[in-house]
Amino acid sequence: MKLPARYRPRRIVLRDGREVTLRAIAETDAAEIVQAFERLSAESRYSRFMQHKKRINEVALQRGVRPQPGREFAFVVTIPAPDGIDIVGAAQYLAAEQGNAETCEFAITVAEDWRGSGIARHLLASLLRRARRDGYKTMEGWVTAANTSMLMLARKLHFKVEPVPGDATVLRVQHAL
């Protein structure tokens, strides 16, 4: 299998003028991911995991910072910090289920202080491009019904938004690649 090209870090100037770096996740990001998770509000954590999560699962974390090339990808958005960097946004996709080469599932998280600056839009657009290159046909995601800003973004990027039979708590968003 041909390995996909490395993703070159990009500087992005946000709508509010702040500058951030968008790059591929690295193994060394694990500790920063944990810190970023701890800074998140309960509501944000709930939107991401759909449950109250007190801490990140270590196995999932280690897997998350080592995406399988060509099948999985994860972006982080960073800013400079006294101890190096802070992660203020992250996004990933992976096969929706084991062995499914057609559909990938995505998730996006943006730190509270950085909401509304367009980070999520950059992340989602980047995910779509990358997943297309990985050969997926569809990208899908599950969004809590209360997560209006994510639903609005998905609609803006032409995702189809549909209810989930038997569960009013979430909506399914999907995009052909």
Partner: protein, 571 residues
């Protein structure tokens, strides 16, 4: 916009109400007290307050708040009371003094009470002694500095008062010990208040009347800002709606639902505007006492929720209750079950008139005409001066008969959520329609039926429970690794809370977990079914919980659940 539902309005019900009629709830009170002065206004445990007495007592209460407690217009005053005569006195007292009522469920746990007092910024509270110990535990963390306590019998005639207070305290032991420095007794407040004058506060329709708390999807309750204008509008709308069946000054209505719930509150105020005698039931779960009260009253109207009508029909003593004078039975708060509607009509002769609304719409927005002969299975048609639309994903109306989100527009729709502009923005469309979170459809005559609920909540006997809050409490327990809460159908309460829990501590028992919940969740939020699982909760590959998978009790392992054999669905 045309209103196809107007064809269903009975003769005498106007298409529009005149909200200019009253500038505030204060004016509604003044009007009723002047028109019906010597008629009974409220009846509790056989003791009656006339409209005149209520006027006088609430004036004294208001004067005390203004002149002695030095509270100002717009200050928030919490009422932590069941349906006793003290409730209307305090309610109208607070409103007349120009302050804002914050209704508190007396059965709240300290955690819930603390949140509500802090969030509302209440500086005063009126609390029944039975619940003072809850307040004592959290008061330091809040801005409450004025506390008025009351004993159950405080507004009963002297002998009955002493007896009731003695029985509640000494025989039934319903008053856990408490200590609140500087607390003033209700009777003392009235006595002192009578010696002060009440400054007239020129309230307008834009002044806040209530911060009415309702659950939120984020797990914390938020305050719905209901103005005097919102409340006056809904009182007039409901009163106009009921007018074909009711005669001013001649009705007796039984209110067994707690007045801290917006449905009972507005229902009560609407009957009040028509000079009815309002019979307050403090605890309808005490069925023998409830039935006794019903037997002693020739009531002509009753409001309730499905759960309550079912409990009444199931009670053996209900056969002895005389229902012949009954003209109107209103059901709200939760969906009415077909079987209950049928049994009620058989027994009572009048149908259950179902109505619909949200705390955010003060609450009634849609109702069945009171002249219907049979329960319709619909939530009804929009009230006078109210618009309802069924909107699609793009916030545009869907075709007639198609399912979409039911959205509302009208003078009873709230201003927004207290201190939560983001939540407020979410609940309104760009054109100002209130999103109800309920999915439904409208027929060609404007009749509306609910098909599904969009928001993630469980409705237990008319009370909203948000899974998020229950899960939050469950995961506070150190023995819990993961937890999910869902609503499951329940004969008695419509829906009940089921929780699925993965333990960190294998020795954790259901009893221990429920004891923990009891400390932090009031009764209706308590899990009815607890299921322990030994495998992680089902999740998508990216780690999101699949709540749908939690419904099925006899579910296989989580790993299998994520790999359905059939076409990939939301599993």
């Amino acid at each position: 916009m045309q209103k196809p539902w107007l064809v269903q309005y009975p003769p005498g019900v106007p298409a529009e109400i005149d909200i200019e009629q009253f500038a505030s709830l204060k004016a509604v009170l003044a009007s009723s007290c002047a028109r019906f002065a010597d008629l009974p206004a409220f009846n509790s445990m056989g003791a009656v307050l006339t409209y005149r007495q209520l006027d006088e007592a609430s004036r004294a209460f208001a004067a005390w708040l203004q002149q002695v407690a030095q509270l100002r217009r717009g200050d928030r005053v919490a009422l932590m009371l069941p349906n006793l005569l003290q409730y209307p006195v305090a309610l109208f007292g607070v409103l007349r003094a120009g302050m804002v009522v914050v209704n508190v469920n007396p059965l709240y746990t300290p955690r819930e009470l603390e949140h509500q007092l802090k969030d509302s910024g209440a500086t005063a509270i009126v609390v029944l002694e039975n619940f003072a110990h809850t307040l004592e535990q959290v008061i330091k963390a809040t801005s409450v500095r004025t506390v008025i306590t009351t004993q159950a019998g405080d507004l009963l005639p002297p002998l009955k008062r002493l007896l009731t207070n003695f029985v509640v305290k000494q025989v039934r032991k319903q008053v856990p010990p408490w200590r609140l420095a500087g607390a003033v007794g209700f009777r003392q407040v009235l006595a002192i208040g009578r010696e002060h004058t009440l400054d007239d506060v020129p309230l307008t329709r834009d002044d806040l009347a209530f911060l009415q708390y309702t659950g939120g999807t984020t797990g914390v309750a938020k305050g719905t800002m209901l103005t005097h204008g919102n409340m006056v509008a809904n009182v007039l709308q409901v009163a106009a709606w009921m007018s074909p069946n009711l005669i001013d000054g001649e009705e007796i209505v039984v209110i067994p639902l707690p007045l801290y719930h917006v449905f009972a509150l507005t229902g009560c105020l609407s009957f009040f505007s028509k000079g009815a005698q309002i019979v307050l039931i403090a605890n309808p779960r005490d069925m023998p006492a409830f039935l006794k009260a019903l037997r002693q009253t020739r009531f002509t109207a009753i409001i309730g929720v499905n759960t309550l009508f079912r409990a009444m029909l199931d009670a053996p003593g209900f056969v002895d209750v005389d229902l012949r004078p009954l003209k109107l039975a209103v059901a709200g708060g939760m969906a009415v079950q077909h079987v209950i509607a049928h049994r009620w009509k058989e027994r009572a002769g009048v149908p259950l008139v179902e109505c619909y609304g949200l705390t955010e719409s003060a609450p009634v927005a849609i109702a069945n005409p009171v002249t219907i002969q049979e329960w319709s299975g619909q939530i009804g048609v929009p009230l006078p001066s109210t618009d309802a639309a069924v909107l699609g994903d793009d916030d545009k109306p869907v075709a007639l008969g198609q399912v979409g989100e039911i959205c509302l527009l009208g003078p009873q729709v709230m201003k927004g959520y207290w201190n939560r502009p983001e939540e407020t923005a979410k609940v309104f469309t760009a054109n100002g329609w209130l999103r109800t979170g309920d999915m439904g459809l409208m027929d060609e005559r404007g009749g509306i039926r609910i098909t599904d609920r969009k928001k993630d909540m469980i409705v237990v006997s008319g009370f909203k429970v948000f899974p998020n809050e229950v899960e939050d409490v469950l995961t506070m327990h150190p023995g819990v690794l993961e937890a999910g809460a869902i609503g499951v159908p329940d004969d008695r309460s419509g829906e009940a809370v089921k929780v699925v829990v993965v333990r960190k501590d294998p020795a954790l028992t259901e009893a221990q977990l429920l004891a923990h919940c009891k400390q932090h969740l009031t009764g209706y939020k308590m899990p009815r079914i607890v299921e322990f699982r030994n495998e992680p909760l089902p999740k998508t590959n990216i780690g999101k919980i699949l709540r749908r998978e939690l419904r099925d009790a006899s579910h296989p392992t989580g790993a299998q659940a994520m790999q359905p054999a059939v076409a990939r669905g939301p599993a």
